[in-house]
Symmetry: D2
Subunit: 359 residues, 4 copies
């Protein structure tokens, strides 16, 4: 019994990653692909400039691209949206109101307190917002869940087990070195990034500073909205570096509870973290959510980004910080766990939790 | 009346930069070049794999490389040392004891309280240690001055005017993205850094954390040693990125005196900073020690590293920090101001101060 | 007595290079800058995303960008066009018909037998077409000259002295490795060229195969048109590689006259080549049109592209070919000699030949 | 019934690739790993700086590295040698004389007429030299087979079907753009290849020109030696470009038999080529030895190098050449089919042909 999926923004960078991951998925099948009206009506292979190593999966090559209209995707059990934010707001809302299940990678609804912002190996408990969301929109089976910004994703995977084990975080300073694939295609001009660093990514720091507080926060007791952490200060600085895939982040943290844990205690907690996605046996959940490296010079994007098929976060250099308690460096695959993979693993969790009804 | 200079480690990366910069210098002439015994006796052009754009300067091509023995450099007014730290300690001390003037780029004597650690546009007042140094070593004209680690150099140029204007810094967190040229030649293997970030540079974080406190510190009242800043906490994280030249650094700072200055006040102070090196008319001193950029996406290594012929530090993204007071991003040319250029400008200052006697 | 210049397409990649080169020129001054109607009316610094190391030259920063209409440039002695080919055809013709002097970098009129296609260090004799061109268009002082495609430029600089010394070339096979700056801005997406080679550049092979035959050809006896070489076979293969500036070309050639010259004879001829542009003392003419390197591993783009301030072609690896007579590798700076620099040096030649009337 | 394999030079770049490929192999198991005396006695994970994405395979991590002495590898059914050529000659001969089966990636014995130089999808018929080789060395089961230089490998895969279908090649001109991984580790310094092309690879052109003629040649009638093609002229030019894996080659060829085939006929023959390795069902043989791309801008190393798990050659841009008959561009994965993969697939062929006796 396969789950029929539809992919919106299927010709873009995130859409291509959805297709690559879903083409090999044991439970999900690619049923429909949607893109802009410019692409609609064409074969997928003709509408797309494929940028992932390897070829377009056979089952998708000849699919006819549809316009992103809910009525054209009515027979899909799940919709994955890789739409750009300039169109995602309207389209995703139309799909939701048509009682469809939407997993969105766009930023548009991440700040909506009624919309769960879920990193699958971090806060699947936020799925508990869905009954309330359905009641507000008078839906029977549809709902909307967003995954997080790619840089935020890596950060919260590291912070969640520390928060669980050692209590609230008082302060977080994070500086990122982000891959070019995060900017989509054509995205970053080679003339801008060759032999260069770009010390700015529009809107990215604000996303990290907001989304971290929402993902690590709790739902209210009514399960009608998500409350932001209110006692944590976070400051993010985001840079683009000449790397194809994989965001590296240097993190310094201070715990509220003192004395703070030692680096070895931090390592132990990170290394032994098991998420609910693993416990309930989700197909795409990695063996280890977090891989701790003990070599001085790891993680490295080229060597570590595919750990856990891109679903693990790799952490190294856990050590004392002269200013705060602890500092470390983490790496997340920005287009797998940091984008399309989060959507897919979130859908697997929803399926396991009985939230997804297949037709 | 030209100053005769000798260059130790002349075939290496820093040595080549000394040669390139000195070959066009109006006051200094390249009189002797020294390298390992493997190179000694060869023509410079045959002993060197030249890695700087353009060709080996004509006046140096046919110079015979000497061994690094003080007696072979006795007729030099100034010695610039680009030696590796594994040999610099012994050789530089031999040169000093032979009453020669040595400007060293090596780390070996940077922690010696009697040896000035000078970034030319920051703390030339530390030249005041020289009388004491000479008296200890019973020298007439010789002395030893070191310049700072390349990453530290950029940082202290930014911090000095802030410290002067707004008082002590309580906390500094800095994360670097450093160029490959900082590792010398052959240095970083292309297989290690292509499409990659290396989140570790051996010893670099310790250097930044120590040297910053020495450079920004004062001499004691006897002018016999340099006192480290003791009320400033600094935490550095150093990364290697795929950039040829130019170290980028993301900095967050907290001032001791509150309320802290606004971003605009910070910009004003940085923008109007004038160093002693400029005031006394040193040839290599840039028009502006600090260039403040107001575009969101600057500084960038490829576009800004040659500002002020590589002697300026470029700063951008000055803004409030959620955790500390202020954060910003700076860029320093790591092999010019961050290495050979500091040595040369330090020598120009010494000349202007009457510390250098030409023969 | 300065020559007033106007720059069309001034905000683009080639236009920026025109501005950078002209801002330091002793004879030419930048009088007007033109761009699309989207930019017209704005300050140059606001209309332009400057991509060359260093800042926008002061004298241009506050110039108001004009639309590319001939009447707005009537007081310019020379027009340099860095326009894209989709608009260059019409605009340049309007300027020509307004009796203006136009040096174009666009491809539109390169195949017109009445329009000289001139690489300044190769075939300035083709300026002899101008009287005929003026008579056809009934112009008093205006004319239109194009420079060549960037890859062709490097090739013909190497071939011209060989043709002069050893007679006609029977066969030329050339394979290029071209820099990203050749594609303009934003041009090549970083996702397309990082860790990659793109084995195709649209239209480039045809340009090399055609333009080489025109540039190395003679004018007819009436000096009314340029005759293509008709006994030379040329085959070009063009690739894009991850290099910022500098096109590298591997060339194999066979001479008509046998026995063919030895590699040493080839080297001698290349090394001693002096172009008319040098002889008549043009400011931008390099000391040597061709720099022959004898090291096995040169030329290299990063080390050799700025030779002769970007106006020299560097050649190395001159050796026998198992299939043809000789093979070698050459390097040309694609945005200096290969684009804007050719236009400027062509204008200097025209000035020296009395073809340019200043007002 | 598994085949026990030993890997010489196991800590190097090629050795690591052998380990990565063999760790997942259904027929071969890694039984012993050998390296220099400096590594011998250590755990593999401690002796090795692993440079392939992902981690060292579990079964190898704790293996103790042996010295490369035949007596220590006597229980191996097959030896794969990734040794450097400066030691491979002596060590491989010692292993051969000890009656071991050696598949070597080194160049040392490639020119020996009695040693087969085999590209597995091209000339497995050269295994017929083995009886003679055994008789000369009085071996019962041992033999020595080499695979080809990485660039040659890609070329001959393309040429073999053309030679079979259209008869002898009169002329071949090939220009390569080779990946940095071909130079091993640390190999190419990042300072040499960033933003650069190196137009020279020592010995590479000679290898391509010689090995192509041996691989495409026939054995003599006695099957005692391989005869070089003697009527084919080949000229190779080799360049290093900033690409991690995957050699790109631009090829122009002329056939002896005229009229020559059309591009479409060439495409048909390439596209339908089936090698013996596929016919006899070798595990690592790709579905297609040659993948023909019809898009203008393919093959590209980043997108196509993993085609057929790195065992396919991808060819595009098949078109008429102005000088010869046909030109095209090909891509080969230099460390899989171009190195370790050839050794493994050659061993699979030997196993299928009954040349390998397992203990």
């Amino acid at each position: 019994m396969k789950v029929k999926t539809g992919i919106l923004g299927a010709t873009g960078t995130v859409g291509q990653r959805f297709i690559e991951l879903l083409s090999k998925h044991p439970q999900f099948i690619i049923h429909s692909v949607g893109a802009s009206s410019r692409s609609a009506g064409k074969k997928y292979s003709e509408a797309t400039k494929w940028k992932i190593t390897g070829d377009i999966p056979e089952q998708v090559k000849n699919m006819i691209v549809k316009e992103c209209k809910a009525k054209l995707f009515g027979d899909c059990d799940v919709i994955f949206s890789g739409l750009d934010s300039d169109v995602a707001g309207e389209i995703e809302m139309e799909f939701l109101k048509a009682d469809l299940v939407v997993f969105s990678n766009a930023k548009n609804y991440r700040k909506d307190p009624m919309v769960p912002l879920i990193v699958p190996t971090v806060n699947p408990s936020h799925f508990n917002l869905i009954p309330h969301q359905r009641s507000i929109h008078t839906l029977k089976k549809g709902f909307l869940v967003t995954n997080s910004n790619c840089s935020t994703t890596g950060l919260v995977v590291a912070l969640k087990p520390l928060q669980e084990a050692f209590g609230p975080l008082e302060t977080i300073i994070v500086q990122t070195m982000q891959a070019i694939s995060g900017a989509g295609y054509p995205g970053v001009s080679s003339l801008d990034i060759f032999d260069n660093v770009i010390p700015f990514i529009s809107g990215e720091e604000e996303k990290m500073e907001y989304e971290t507080l929402k993902i690590l926060g709790d739902l209210n007791s009514d399960q009608t909205e998500c409350k932001l952490l209110d006692s944590t200060n976070i400051s993010a600085t985001c840079n683009r570096v000449p790397v194809i895939d994989g965001h590296t982040e240097c993190v310094s943290i201070k715990f509220k509870n003192q004395p703070s844990p030692t680096p070895q205690e931090i390592v132990n907690v990170l290394d032994s973290y098991v998420s609910e996605a693993q416990q309930i046996g989700c197909h795409s959940a990695p063996n280890k959510c977090i891989i701790v490296r003990h070599d001085d010079d790891r993680p490295q994007p080229r060597l570590d980004r595919n750990n856990g098929n891109g679903y693990s976060v790799t952490i190294g250099r856990v050590r004392k910080c002269n200013v705060f308690d602890i500092k470390f460096t983490l790496l997340v695959h920005n287009t797998i766990l940091g984008a399309a993979g989060s959507g897919i693993l979130n859908a697997e969790i929803a399926l396991a939790k009985g939230l997804l009804k297949t037709q």
